[in-house]
Amino acid sequence: MADTEKNEKAMEPAADATPNVTEVETVDAATEDEAVAAIEAKVDRGEPILQVRNLVKHFPLTQGILFKRQIGAVKAVDGISFDLYQGETLGIVGESGCGKSTVAKLLMTLETATAGEVFYKGQDITRLSGRALRAVRRNIQMVFQDPYTSLNPRMTVGDIIGEPFEIHPEVAPKGDRRRKVQELLDVVGLNPEYINRYPHQFSGGQRQRIGIARGLALNPEIIICDEPVSALDVSVQAQVINLMEGLQDEFNLSYIFIAHDLSIVRHISDRVGVMYLGKMAEIGSDTEIYDHPTHPYTQALLSAVPVPDPESREGRERIILTGDVPSPANPPSGCRFRTRCWKAQDKCAKEVPLLAIPERFAGTDSPAAHESACHFAEEKDVVHA
């Protein structure tokens, strides 16, 4: 335990040094009106809309029934920073337990961050409340993984998609809502006549469309998609992905696309971040990550993806990692990946590697010159035969 505490101290300067995230132009709103006005302001395409800085979420582990005392913490997210630009899709990949879903909940302010900031148009949403927070909620929406549990089985489709309007009545006047719901159904490719049906009367893919329609209802700017297609059949996955891409263009949306399926993430994302045990291991454009990965974890992850093509498969190098992901309650010292890494040396146990452009590539315009949190970063193509 003492060991990990020391590491956290060592980590702090690291987070500050993250170079490739743009500077945050904070907005100091004195009144709620100003705050809401700032939230409603337009952001140009390609400008940062959401800026995450040193975000930390620790879930306390407690003992005792009435008088709880803390005996440790699950470090689900442990200091990550990234920017989301208007109109882009940022993919976040990682295995179960890497903290990617916790990131989604933090961005949705469904969980309170232990430390760090999330700036939405210059305002830290982790500190907002009241009308300003409601305005943020309207603008950041979410699509869930499981279409079977994310829709209330006792409500009709019309009530489900119309609920956002009831919570935010200013968006649509009462008489207009039914028509709006039917429009939304049409937009996501469902028959508007289905408005009075119940979720269990639909298939998984159709339900996911309903979930997307609910997410679109308030005309948000950002949609956070937490594994939106992983529960769907292959033939339906493509439909939903295409729908989401179409909607992005139509409504000028920015996506954070969280998934474990690397192929789908590549397909939909402009930039990709790879997470491991609560930290960002590597982040860059899709070509940089997939064709020029420099972090050993990314390389292992990519090489393990089963490719539906036995011929190209044969030429590929496969890195099979040993062991399992360590517990986030007690992560390894130094680099968190070192326990499964074939390159690990003494340095990896002592120093936390910074998420930065590796020195050897710094200043070059090689695609390998993107941020990677490894002491021994080197390029290795594992995807192409």
Binding site: I65, L66, K105, M108, L110, L133, R134, R137, R138, Q141, M142, F144, Q145, D146, Y148, T149, S150, L151, N152, P153, R154, M155, T156, E163, P164, E166, I167, H168, N191, Y194, N196, R197, Y198, H200, Q201, F202, S203, G204, Q206, G211, R214, L218, A231
Partner: protein, 323 residues
């Protein structure tokens, strides 16, 4: 009963549903694809219920019992309190004299057993329904609050529930009733409800905990929904089914508890008419005149049976695994 807490049919990832069930669901899932008319889950449950003969048996019985409780005068012309000692309980039942005062014979004080059985229904039903209503409201509310808010609220409520749960139900009610000299129906209701709410509170708490973890609750929170909306729109409708089942079955148990207390002389007392009192009165005559005991006891069993059967039928209908 634990089955009903799984409010929604298992999904492919449903850990508790087991691999077989998950597979079967996966097979049947596409079968649901946008067929026909809108069909709510309550509607589905009602459909299931309608197709169960046991439901109809208990429903017919219950309607009859409620009618008797509400309008006993429609079912008998005799006065249950009129004692005519010439009719002392030596008079045997006249089983062919339908709906007549002497249909079931007379008791020790020459009162029409038929009339007493009819008039006794009201007290039993009132106690059963009354206790159930109080218990469901109190227990349901506490369970819901504990389950939804968790934390120290849950700790405190759960400890109180545990303490009450530890007190023996009948013994506790007897102690409470002993403190009252006037034993009207509402006193008995209060005494039984005093200790009876814990079961409902527990059931409600656990189903609320299950329901509040569902993704649709998270989705509502993400939209900015307030606590009231989440609780009453999303959590409660999905947590209600187990409580309904438990409450229906418990209703029968409360009726028999009332009879037990009355039999022991601690429940209702004269001039209230109750099956329990009549059973108690009959206990000395049972060897020679079993009919004096038979009819109130039979009525009691029939009523309890009707409620428990209804509870069973409702549980089957609400259990998504059979769908």
């Amino acid at each position: 009963m634990p089955d009903v807490t799984k409010t929604k049919a298992g999904t492919d990832t449903g850990v508790d549903a087991g691999p077989l069930q998950a597979a079967a669901d996966a097979v049947l899932a596409p079968g649901a694809v946008s067929q026909g008319k809108p069909r709510s889950l309550w509607g589905d449950a009602w459909y299931e219920l309608r197709h169960r003969p046991l439901f109809w048996v208990s429903a017919v019985l219950l309607v009859l019992l409620l009618a008797i409780a509400a309008f006993p005068g429609l079912f008998t012309g005799a006065n249950p309190r009129d004692g005519d000692l010439t009719n002392h309980f030596l008079t045997k039942p006249e089983l062919t004299h339908f709906f007549q005062a002497d249909w079931f014979g007379y008791d020790g004080q020459g009162r029409s057993i038929y009339a007493r059985v009819i008039y006794g229904t009201r007290a039993s039903i009132m106690v059963g329904v009354g206790v159930t209503v109080v218990v469901t409201l109190v227990g349901g509310l506490l369970g819901m609050v504990a389950g939804y808010f968790g934390g120290w609220i849950d700790s405190i409520v759960s400890r109180i529930v545990d303490i009450f749960f530890g007190l023996p139900f009948l013994l506790g009610s007897m102690v409470v009733l002993n403190a009252f000299t006037e034993r009207k129906v509402y006193v008995v209701i209060a005494a039984l409800a005093f200790l009876g709410w814990t079961t409902i509170a527990r059931v409600m708490r656990s189903s609320v905990i299950t329901a509040k973890q569902a993704d649709y609750v998270t989705a509502a929170r993400a939209l900015g929904a307030g606590t009231g909306r989440i609780l009453f729109r999303h959590v409660l409708p999905n947590a209600l089914a187990p409580t309904i089942v438990v409450a229906t079955i418990a209703l029968g148990a409360y009726i028999s508890a009332e009879a037990t207390l009355s039999f022991l002389g601690l429940g209702l007392a004269d001039p209230t008419i109750s099956w329990g009192i009549d059973i108690s009165d009959a206990k000395d005559a049972i060897r020679d005149n079993p009919h004096v005991m038979l009819f109130p006891a039979g009525m009691l069993s029939l009523t309890v049976f009707a409620f428990i059967t209804l509870g069973d039928a409702v549980r089957d209908a609400l259990d998504p695994k059979l769908r």
